[in-house]
Amino acid sequence: MNIKILDSWLRDYLKTKATPQKIEEVLSETSVSVERLEKYKDDFIYDIEVTTNRPDLMSVTGLAREASTVLNQRGVEARFIPLKLQAEKGQKADFITIKNDPRLVNRICAVVMDVRIKDSPNFIKERLENSGIRSLNNLIDITNYVMRTLGHPSHIFDYDRLSTKLLIIREAQKGEEIRTLDNKEHMLQGGEIVAVNDKNTIVDLLGIMGLENSVVNGNTKRILFFIDNNEKNHIRKASMSLGIRTEAAVLNEKGLDSELSYEALLYGIKLYKEFAQGTVLSEIIDIYPNKLKEKTVTVSQEKINKIIGVEIPAKKSSEILKGLGFENIVENNILKVNVPSFRSGDIEVGEDIAEEVARIYGYGNIPQLLPPLPNNFGPKSYINEFYWEKRARKAMKYWGFTECYTYSMVPGDLLEGPEEGAVEIENPLSEEFVFMRRTLVPSLLKVASENKKRQEIKIFELSKVYLKKENRLPEEKLMLAGIIKKQNASFYEIKGIVEQLIKDFGISDLNFKESERGGLGSSLYIGKEYLGEIEVLNTDLVDFEIDFTIILKYANLKKTYKPISKYPPVVEDISLVAGNEVKTENIINEIKAQSVLVADVYLFDQFENSRSFRITYLNPEKNLSSNEVSSVRKKILTSLREKFKATIK
């Protein structure tokens, strides 16, 4: 969350000679980031990002208090001037009774005042407008001015429009309807904190926004000035589900210092008196069921120093903490630290105290060291899954494929298979992202169709798929998929990619079977283990998807050396015609089976129904004689004729 404030406003509470630039620098390095420092007339505007644990800094006084400490610690003289407020007695008059629910609101401070509506004085207008808040009239502006000054939201009702002497705080029920002051209707979800009048009509959506039926207007004469310190989780839930993100809601959902509520009331009364001719009509109401408990954190200086990595004396820590509003005592190098109310939501343990000391000591003053190698750092294998992933990606790249990253979440039509068996997102962002995918190919096909202009597409992805398991986390499996889209895309081109990849990974036992999925293509196996599929979708589109976890199981860099033969091989070709049902693999196996002298056989040409095989004969022990070769050849030809009814050409 961000806050914008004028430098001159800050200096109402901060006495220092530091320039705005110096304040910017010191705050950024030790506390909260000043994202921008902008010149405005002869003034400056700070735009500050405040972290969610420091709602106390979402105010001019909070920032002044913080800045005074950090400036002093950096050797720049600075003094915090707290807001001086006078106690208010109130009147003994029966205007309003409030029934609180302590589970919903920690503290309520309220008063009824007689006021006169008009424009705000210029300085209030200017300060609010430069803070990103639109100036409306003095009555509304004062609530915002109080919020900016102290960091606690406040609200005003038109007392006469409320027309009730009883306000009851309760949780809303599902289905109740309200009209907020911006004239929008909302259906409540149930659980919002609301105030109802004596007729059970909702008159306020606490901590978030006022309602149209009770908001001040041009005729307002009497107001109920109302400070509510709310239970933060109720506010967050209501604000998010209703989509009302007012500054009040953003602050209230962080959990605010309830000690501030009363101060906010007094400051508001003072401003109404001053700028709205206000007079107090009622008693001062202060319902405070959830009083903050005192909090103490004990931590040793030794621990602080170990966390920071620098030797800081306990005296120095104590001094830093005091400056930040943490009263403390030091005994035997142990600090006993009282947590001030405005930090009670944030400080719990010794580490929190160490942070306070460290940031003021200066993060820039801490040296930079590399940690030692871990004590279990040994000759770990360099060849891990990431090595193979990298190698696969590089191979695909150098074979002309472009890598895609598609979303893990897919719409139902990219799922393949029944939706019930898929991991489904309960709160998807859109219909595009509903299921966790079980296969990569549909996403790649979508990419291909989205790149319509391309004549030729070669893409791949190496990503996880998510397989549902009952009562367990899904199985996350790494898959490698790719597609080739072009005129007359070939099954063999994809097959070749897979074969070379598997070969490069040191795996030998890759088998191709007729597709078991019914489509045109092949089912792939390493040994007997299923690896994946090649699919021929149409004449222009072939894809593959293989289980990379199986590849990881077998991939290796094992080297084997076979002595290079001293004797020359004899190479010859055989062409034959056999029926289509006779698979090339069978022919090759048959030829190899005829003699140990057959060192290698492969299909080197194919035309219509004729297939040509190149056979390499080799005897590693001696020179082959032509007799030996011809007798093996004879055996081969006979067996091919008999077994496959092949005609030899």
């Binding site: 921008r36 170990k306 580490e351 993060y363 040296p367 940690p371 890598e403 979303y407 979440m409």
Partner: protein, 352 residues
């Protein structure tokens, strides 16, 4: 005989000199020195020479043979050189080469590879943990209180199905930090074997958050470091992150840490690196000379406890940064809509 030898030599030499190309020269070589070449045949007749002259003729024959061979060699060299000249005239070096196929790795892959390499050099080990995870690992053990905004339906994707009584709802990891808990639990197993906990983790993974606009994609990548050991302090956090920034962005860069707030670290920091455009002087692209790299902090004692590690014995730090973010920062790629990274528009992917 001698005259014949001299005559063969002269004929051969003149032929050799006139040979037009290597093929022609080879024919000439065969004509004189081949199995039935003129010189070969004549040398065979040396036996017919009277014995007293045989030695002399033999020496002459060898000289002739050497002379022809030398001439052939010389001519060969000359002819080769001539071929090159011809080739040179045929090559236009500005014509396109015959290109081997070349695809492209995704920008995110390229970044992850480099980031991993940088951390592995100083003893970090890369790991992977579930992307679909239990609430307990993603929030509860990371010290997120119930009702924390990150646990809302508005920020995190939840998975349909029954909650686990201990581990809560199933969700898509909104950060890589859930890996911290997994890593510490894993390390405890070795501690139970008597080894000390000593973690240098790098977890790079896909993360998911419910937002999609020009600067957010519902799926993105983070890289998480986790260091747990005895005597780890803020100074080590500064050292490692500065080492990374210098390695990834350049040696002349500087880093700083600023106070920040995260649930699972205490103290927490925002880490900045000096702007590469203005070298830290301050410009339009940075905040007063600095660019935000991401968050980091000392592991919160509650997180150590939840993971089963004794916070009095061990301490550590963690950081979790966006891969896309550091990538954009370094390359200065002014991609106006981050969703382009995952649009898989080939016109985009093929630029890298």
């Amino acid at each position: 005989m001698e005259e014949e030898l001299i005559s063969i030599k002269n004929t051969a030499l003149s032929f050799i000199l006139e040979a037009e190309d290597l093929k022609n020269l080879e024919e000439i070589k065969l004509q004189f020195l081949g199995k039935s070449g003129k010189l070969t045949l004549l040398i065979k007749e040396i036996t017919k020479v009277p014995p007293e002259k045989r030695k002399e003729v033999g020496m002459l024959a060898n000289e002739v043979k050497d002379a022809i061979e030398d001439a052939i060699k010389l001519r060969q060299e000359n002819l080769k050189h001539k071929t090159k000249t011809v080739l040179r005239q045929k090559i236009d070096v500005t014509n396109p080469g015959i290109l081997p196929p070349l695809g492209h790795e995704h920008l995110v892959t390229q970044a992850i590879e480099e980031i991993s390499g940088i951390f592995e050099k100083i003893g970090f080990t890369r790991v992977t943990y579930p992307e679909v995870e239990w609430d307990w690992f993603a929030f509860e053990a990371l010290n997120f209180p119930q009702g924390h905004p990150a646990r809302d339906d508005w920020e995190t994707f939840f998975i349909k199905g029954e909650k686990d009584p201990q581990k809560g709802a199933m969700l898509l990891t909104p950060h890589t930090s859930s890996g911290q808990i997994r890593e510490m639990q894993k390390a405890l197993i070795t501690e139970n074997k008597g080894e000390e906990v000593s973690i240098r983790m790098l977890n790079v993974a896909k993360c998911y958050r419910r937002q999609s606009d020009i600067s957010h994609t519902p799926m993105f990548h983070q890289f998480e470091t986790l260091v747990i050991d005895k005597n780890i302090s803020i100074s080590h956090l500064k050292g490692v992150l500065d080492y990374f920034a210098k390695s990834y962005f350049g040696q002349n860069r500087k880093t700083r840490i600023r106070p920040y707030h995260f649930q699972f670290t205490e103290p927490s920091f925002e880490v900045d690196v000096t702007c590469g455009v203005c070298n830290g002087k301050g410009c339009k692209l940075c905040k007063e000379g600095w660019l935000e790299m991401g968050g980091a902090g000392m592991v919160h004692p509650n997180v150590l406890k939840m993971s089963g590690i004794d916070p009095e014995k061990y301490r550590g730090f963690a950081s979790g940064w966006g891969v896309e973010r550091v990538l954009m920062m370094r390359e200065g790629l002014e991609i106006d809509d981050l969703r382009l990274l995952y649009s898989n528009n080939l016109d985009f992917l093929e630029q890298f």
